[in-house]
């Protein structure tokens, strides 16, 4: 018999989950949840999609999914982990559907996305940052996501493992490969 995972969550989170699952308090609890999480989720999605408008669309979809599915949340992970997973899946699905428009050429798609960054009014980086984003964008999907979650979001491997459904060992390998690739590209471009 599969043992139910036990996750240590704060009393506040437990209370919030209880309110979210109660039809009477769901709406007010949902507002609280959105206020707490919107920035983190936004930037998690934005780092994958790069563009603000796309990020806004996906963020809305993520919250709709959360609102719809909260009854099904089994509490086997933290609420934030579960939400991250939804955000990650939505972002990856969006990128896959976008890739179809580029006739499945991810290189062309990412090159276009990186070029668009130069014109993006909501991108506050220089040419160096653009090059860095280009390097990260071209990493294999798993390496890219692990790198971003570890470096930008400071998540532990265990948390990333719960989000992505991949073993900690595999994640560490992906992360190590991603870091080395980035370092090599950076030093080849003499950016530091």
């Amino acid at each position: 018999m599969k043992q139910k995972k036990s996750v240590v969550v704060s009393a506040l989170e437990k209370e919030l989950i209880k309110k979210l699952k109660n039809s009477k308090s769901k709406d007010s609890a949902f507002r609280e949840l959105v206020n707490q999480s919107k920035k983190n989720l936004y930037f998690q999605i934005r780092r994958l999609l790069l563009d603000h408008e796309d990020t806004n669309d996906i963020l809305q979809n993520v919250y709709i999914k959360i609102y719809r599915s909260i009854q099904k949340f089994k509490e086997e992970s933290k609420l934030s982990t579960w939400m991250y997973r939804i955000a990650y899946n939505e972002s990856i699905n969006f990128l896959k559907s976008k890739e179809k428009k580029y006739l499945f050429s991810s290189d062309v798609m990412y090159n276009t996305m990186i070029n668009n960054l130069r014109e993006d009014p909501y991108f506050d980086g220089d040419e160096l940052d653009i090059k860095l984003q280009a390097i990260i964008a071209k990493l294999p999907p798993k390496q890219k996501v692990v790198f971003q979650m570890k470096y930008y979001d400071d998540l532990k491997f265990k948390e990333i493992s719960e989000i992505l459904g991949t073993s900690v060992g595999a994640l560490k390998t992906s992360y190590h490969l991603a870091k080395n690739k980035i370092k090599k590209e950076i030093s080849d471009n003499q950016t530091f």
Partner: protein, 139 residues
């Protein structure tokens, strides 16, 4: 003083440590901006309303579909063959003079395509029967 060499570190940990830190600082610089008041404008009301109206329309669709199916079943039931006396059986019975319907209630399917019925004071006239008979009067 206790020697720090009692603690072990991974191989080459301190090599390029300063570069790694600088890299981390650079990488952590937030290069993604958002429109002014973007986060304040994220409205949960729209999401909740959208979901509630979706649920409303979904329920409306289900209720309407069930109602429509029930109406269709009811109509077919009303227009369907009732458990009346089958006209072929009735005609054959009359022809063979095996019937005795006097004094009994006789129900005939009035919607039969093959026959027309006229009821005159307990006389039922069936016409357009088969080729050999124009009509039969049942008294």
């Amino acid at each position: 003083m206790r020697s720090s060499s009692s603690f072990k570190v991974p191989n080459k940990y301190f090599k390029n440590f300063d570069v790694e830190i600088l890299e981390k600082i650079k990488l952590n610089k937030n290069i993604f901006n958002v429109p002014e008041n973007y986060f304040e404008s994220i409205s949960t009301e729209r999401i909740i309303e959208k979901e509630k109206s979706k649920t409303f329309y979904k329920n409306l669709f289900i209720t309407s579909s069930i109602t429509l199916v029930l109406i269709i079943l009811l109509v077919f039931n009303n227009f369907g063959e009732k458990e009346f006396v089958d006209e072929t059986f009735l005609v054959n019975d009359i022809l063979e003079e095996n019937y005795d319907y006097i004094g009994e209630n006789l129900y005939i399917n009035q919607y039969s395509k093959n026959y027309t019925y006229q009821n005159y004071d307990n006389q039922i006239i069936m016409s357009n029967l088969d080729n050999d008979f124009d009509y039969i009067i049942i008294e």
